[in-house]
Symmetry: C2
Subunit: 198 residues, 2 copies
Amino acid sequence: MDVNILLFPDFETLDAFGPVEVLGHVSDYVPRYVSPGGGIVHSRQKLPVMTEALGDADTNGILLVPGGQGTRLLVTDPEFIKMLGNAAERSAFCLTVCTGSALLARTSLLNGRRATSNKRAFDWVRGLNSAVHWAEHARWVSDGKYYTSSGVSAGMDMALGFIADQFGTRRAQDIARHIEYIWNSDQTADPFSQVKKV
Amino acid sequence: MDVNILLFPDFETLDAFGPVEVLGHVSDYVPRYVSPGGGIVHSRQKLPVMTEALGDADTNGILLVPGGQGTRLLVTDPEFIKMLGNAAERSAFCLTVCTGSALLARTSLLNGRRATSNKRAFDWVRGLNSAVHWAEHARWVSDGKYYTSSGVSAGMDMALGFIADQFGTRRAQDIARHIEYIWNSDQTADPFSQVKKV
């Protein structure tokens, strides 16, 4: 099964590559790095990644959508949102990290569903689509085939939660141990939901 | 100050980009992605990264060396080890993640110093250079300008520890909060040192 990691200018590096590290330990999952137009895409941390065009990808597998500064522009880009909507609809599972859920919310595919996002950007994200049931206090949320996580590092916890749902908790724990990651496995434990108040 | 991230075929994705995410929050640090020959380098998770040649880089700044499967070949590549040794010697600070310390150990620059590494690969790493004081139980270790971490995810904790040493603990905590990362800030707490026994 392909894992299509959808990159765009100014995506947040760890949003994408934390989950890639976790999902990469499932040998049946084949990571593919895609972007709307293909070619080199730079992350917010100036990382140049060579991508394939999303149009050339088989999008029936898993779609992973990072967040980051680049989402601020893309939420107002109807072509991008349409392309994302088509890919997310065809996907078996769609996982977003941080403000990746802002992009997905703009497709309407999250309408009536529970979702979460980065806690610093929460008011902005919520304002983009009030038909989504936004969870203010959650490390990650799953609703059907859609998984959405809180900011940046929460994507790794979500990816392990996704593995647990697909293959059992022991498999997720094995991967966490392999990468010496201390998994925050309780999706309701969200120390950063109070971030504005500290 | 440049942060030179030294990439090579089959480096472990998160070894490099976890610390990049952390260090990228210091605006004075400029990330540069380098490799011995420049051009596209693929991580173990098939991520194609465009790199500059290490020879063209200013290596007076911070040098970050990930680990991964690719280190198994490189420890026996005298040209690579010489190039790494020169860059590490010139660097203001040299940070390794996971089996990146195996590469650095081969340069002799860790001789007589404390260092650590991935806990699954520990016996292999230790066998490469017994003149290093290998710490079996440590999330990360610093000795002078050299920082070495345990496996994969430990690199993020080390990077935050490095920030704390440079700019104070509050700065490290701010970055951790910004990326919603639950920092394992005690470098002596290493739940994975027992990994072979579980």
